[in-house]
C-alpha cells in the first residue's frame, strides 16, 4: 500500500521517538531527519534506522522535498524557529505538524477536534504540549456535559524525560497549555502547572485535571463522559489510565490520570513523550488517509 512520505525536523527526544511511531504506521513513512549538529546522536540514530539526514536545518531538506515526495513534516525544534520552518515547507506544499509551543496553526487534540482540522485541510496544526494532550480530552469530556468556568491541570513529569529545550522554555509550555485548556478543552479560564520530578526509578507521567462547573456537577453523566473519553485516547495511547476519580467536591471535579509510554525511544515512564508523538502520528494519519483517498489535496500556500 502506498504511504505518505514524511520528514522529521529536530533530532532530540521527540523527533527520535517519532521515527519508531512512523515506522509502525500503515499510512506514513519517515524519510528524512533534519538536525543542526552533524555529530548529534539523534542524527546518527536516524541514519541507523534508515532515514536520510541533513545537519543543515530545514534549508538542507528543501532541495529534496519535491524529488522525495515529502508531503507531511513534523517540527520538534523550538518555538523560536518553527514559524520560519513552517513557512518554507508550506510554500512547497508540505503540511506541517507542529510539536513546539509556537502554536501558529490551530491547536489539535485528536479525539476532540482532529476531524474538523483534516476537513479544512489546515496546512499547519499544533500539538500543544504533552500535558495538553494528556489533560485536555478530560477537560473537554467534562465541559461537553456542562459549562466549566475554570479548568486546571497539574502535570508531573519524570526528570529524565524532559529535554533541554523544554527545560529552558517552561513559560512557553505554560502559556500554550493554559490557552489550549480554554480554546480546545472548553473551560472559560485555564491554568497549567508543570512539575519535574527526579525520583529514581523515574515516576510515570501523572496528570491531575480539576474542573469547576458552573452548577452542581451531574456526577453520573460526567463520569460516563470521562470514561468514554479515556477509551478514545487509549486507541492511540494504550497506557492512558484512570488512577482515581472522578472525585466530586462541591462544584469541583477532579480526575487523576497516569500515562505509561510504549517504551520506544525512552522507557515506559516517559508517557509524556509518547502521548505527544502518538497524537502527532494519529493526526498525520488522519491527513494521510484523506490524501490517499484523494478527498483532500495539499497545495502550496500563496505567500505574499
Amino acid at each position: 500500500m502506498k504511504k505518505i512520505k514524511c520528514a522529521l525536523i529536530g533530532s532530540g527526544n521527540i523527533g527520535t521517538d517519532l521515527i519508531y511511531k512512523l515506522q509502525r504506521s500503515p499510512l506514513l513513512e519517515p524519510v528524512w531527519m533534519v538536525g543542526i549538529d552533524p555529530e548529534s546522536e539523534g542524527l546518527a540514530r536516524a541514519r541507523d534506522m534508515g532515514l536520510k539526514t541533513t545537519a543543515d536545518g530545514v534549508d538542507g531538506l528543501l532541495p529534496h522535498v519535491l524529488a522525495d515526495g515529502i508531503q507531511i513534516a513534523f517540527d520538534a525544534t523550538s518555538a523560536y524557529v518553527h514559524a520560519e520552518n513552517s513557512r518554507k515547507l508550506n510554500e512547497l506544499g508540505v503540511m506541517m505538524i507542529d510539536l513546539t509551543p509556537a502554536a501558529i496553526g490551530p491547536l489539535c487534540v485528536p479525539p476532540v477536534n482532529l476531524k474538523a482540522h483534516a476537513e479544512k485541510v489546515e496546512m499547519n496544526v499544533n500539538m500543544i504540549s504533552c500535558a495538553g494532550q494528556a489533560t485536555i480530552p478530560i477537560v473537554y469530556a467534562v465541559s461537553s456535559v456542562q459549562p466549566v468556568g475554570y479548568g486546571e491541570i497539574v502535570a508531573s513529569l519524570a526528570s529524565k524525560s524532559i529535554g533541554p529545550g523544554t527545560r529552558a522554555n517552561l513559560d512557553e509550555f505554560t502559556y500554550t497549555t493554559s490557552s489550549a485548556i480554554e480554546k480546545v478543552g472548553g473551560a472559560r479560564k485555564g491554568k497549567a502547572l508543570a512539575i519535574i520530578n527526579p525520583a529514581d526509578p523515574p515516576m510515570m507521567m501523572r496528570n491531575t485535571i480539576s474542573c469547576l462547573t458552573d452548577d452542581e456537577p451531574d456526577q453520573e453523566r460526567i463520569t460516563a463522559s470521562v470514561l468514554a473519553m479515556i477509551k478514545e485516547v487509549q486507541k492511540y495511547v494504550p497506557g492512558y489510565r484512570l488512577v482515581n476519580g472522578p472525585l466530586f467536591d462541591g462544584k469541583r471535579v477532579t480526575v487523576f490520570m497516569e500515562v505509561a509510554g510504549l517504551g520506544d525511544y525512552l522507557p515506559k515512564y516517559a508517557g509524556n513523550l509518547d502521548i505527544m508523538t502518538a497524537a502527532a502520528t494519529r493526526t498525520a494519519e488522519m491527513f494521510a488517509e484523506e490524501i490517499l483517498a484523494g478527498s483532500i489535496q495539499l497545495k502550496s500556500l500563496e505567500v505574499a
Partner: protein, 351 residues
C-alpha cells in the same frame, strides 16, 4: 567556644518569610491589612528583606495550592508602599509562575526574588533568573528539598544558577530533614565553587527542631543570608524563628541589624494570636522532617486523611517513599484515595 569567636562580627542578612511561607500555615488566608501591619513592624525592627506572596509564590493561586483572598500584586503593592527601609521580595517557581507574573510583581514594587527549583532541576530557571536580573532585582536561586541531592550535586546546580545571573544561591531544607552536618557539607561545597561575590543563603524548616542550629551551621560554612519567620510562622513546624535566631546571633556576636525586643513583641503580640494551629514540632510535622517530606504537604495530608479515613502520618510516609516533591500536592489526595482502596475504605470505579 571557638565557634562563637569565629563568627564574632560576621554580617548576616535576614530574609523574613512570615508573609509567604506563613501563608501556608494560614491556608493562604492572610488579609492585606494584616500583611501591611506585620510588614511595617518587620520594617521598623530593621529586617532588610520581607517576602510577600501566596505561599506557592507568583502564579500560586490555584485549586492545587489554594486561593488567597487577594492577588499577589495587591499584597505586594500594599506592603511596598509602606516600607521605609525593607525591600519586598517574592517567590517564583518556574512551571507555576511565569515571566509575565514577574513583570507585574516588579511593577507592583517587588525588588527581590527567590527563583525556586527542585534541587536537581536548576536548568528550568535560566529564563526567569536572567529576567529578574534584567529588571535589576536582588536575585536568589533557591534549591528546594536540598536533602535529596549531594553536596557535589548541589554545587553543580548552584553554579548553574550563578551562571544564569543569580547573586545568591540558597540551600533550602524544605522538608526540615537536614542536620547541622548535612547543612555544613552542602554550604561548604557551594562556597568552594561559586564566585567570591556570589552569596549563599540557607532556608530552614524546624520539623526536627534544627532551624536555629542549621542556620548557624550554614553561617559557619560561609552563608551570609538566612531565611526566618517570626514565631516560626511557616509550613510544617515552621521556619527558623526570626526572634530566636536574632537572639542567638546577638549572643554569638553575629550582626543582623535587627531589633531583638521588637521582634519578640511581634511574635508574642501579633503572630501567635493569628495562628490557626500552633506552628510547632508535633506528630505530623515531625513525620515530615523524619521522612523527608515537603513541609507544605502537612495540612493537605491532614485534610485528605480525615476525608478518606487514613492517618495523615501514613499518607506522609507513603509520599516520602514515592519521592514526591514540592508542587505535587495533587498526589496527596491521589495517594490517600489509593490507600483507602487498598484498605477497603473506598470502592474502585466500575469501568
Amino acid at each position: 567556644m571557638s565557634t562563637e569567636n569565629n563568627l564574632k562580627g560576621r554580617q548576616v542578612v535576614i530574609h523574613d518569610m512570615s508573609l509567604r511561607d506563613g501563608m501556608h500555615a494560614k491556608r493562604e488566608q492572610i488579609s492585606v491589612e494584616q500583611m501591611v501591619q506585620i510588614a511595617s513592624a518587620l520594617d521598623a525592627a530593621g529586617v532588610p528583606y520581607i517576602q510577600v506572596t501566596h505561599g506557592a509564590g507568583l502564579g500560586g493561586n490555584s485549586l492545587q495550592h489554594g486561593f488567597a483572598p487577594h492577588s499577589n500584586e495587591e499584597y505586594i503593592a500594599a506592603v511596598a508602599g509602606k516600607m521605609k527601609q525593607a525591600k519586598v521580595s517574592v517567590l517564583l517557581i518556574p512551571g507555576l509562575g511565569t515571566m509575565k507574573e514577574l513583570q507585574s510583581a516588579y511593577d507592583a514594587g517587588a525588588r527581590a526574588v527567590h527563583v525556586a527549583t527542585h534541587c536537581t532541576e536548576a536548568d528550568t530557571s535560566p529564563q526567569h533568573i536572567a529576567f529578574c536580573r534584567k529588571l535589576g532585582m536582588d536575585t536568589n536561586g533557591f534549591l528546594m528539598m536540598a536533602h535529596l541531592n549531594t553536596a557535589e550535586g548541589l554545587a553543580k546546580q548552584g553554579k548553574l544558577m550563578e551562571s544564569y545571573g543569580a547573586n545568591t544561591v540558597y540551600i533550602t531544607d524544605s522538608a526540615g530533614y537536614m542536620l547541622p552536618g548535612d547543612v555544613k557539607d552542602r554550604v561548604a561545597a557551594l562556597r568552594a565553587v561559586l564566585n567570591p561575590e556570589t552569596e549563599i543563603g540557607f532556608h530552614g524548616h524546624h520539623n526536627m527542631g534544627m532551624g536555629i542550629a542549621n542556620s548557624i551551621a550554614a553561617i559557619e560554612a560561609g552563608a551570609t543570608r538566612i531565611d526566618t519567620s517570626v514565631a516560626g510562622l511557616g509550613a510544617g513546624a515552621g521556619n527558623t524563628p526570626t526572634e530566636v535566631f536574632v537572639a542567638v546571633c546577638e549572643r554569638m556576636g553575629i550582626v543582623t541589624g535587627c531589633d531583638l525586643f521588637q521582634l519578640m513583641d511581634m511574635a508574642e503580640d501579633m503572630i501567635v494570636p493569628m495562628m490557626e494551629h500552633m506552628v510547632r514540632v508535633d506528630r505530623a510535622s515531625l513525620t515530615l522532617g523524619f521522612a523527608g517530606v515537603y513541609s507544605t504537604f502537612l495540612l493537605h495530608a491532614k485534610r485528605a486523611g480525615e476525608r478518606f479515613g487514613i492517618p495523615a502520618r501514613d499518607i506522609l510516609v507513603e509520599l516520602g517513599r514515592k519521592k514526591m516533591i514540592g508542587g505535587q500536592e495533587d498526589m496527596i489526595v491521589d495517594t490517600a484515595m489509593t490507600m483507602a482502596k487498598e484498605r477497603g475504605l473506598l470502592k474502585e470505579i466500575e469501568i
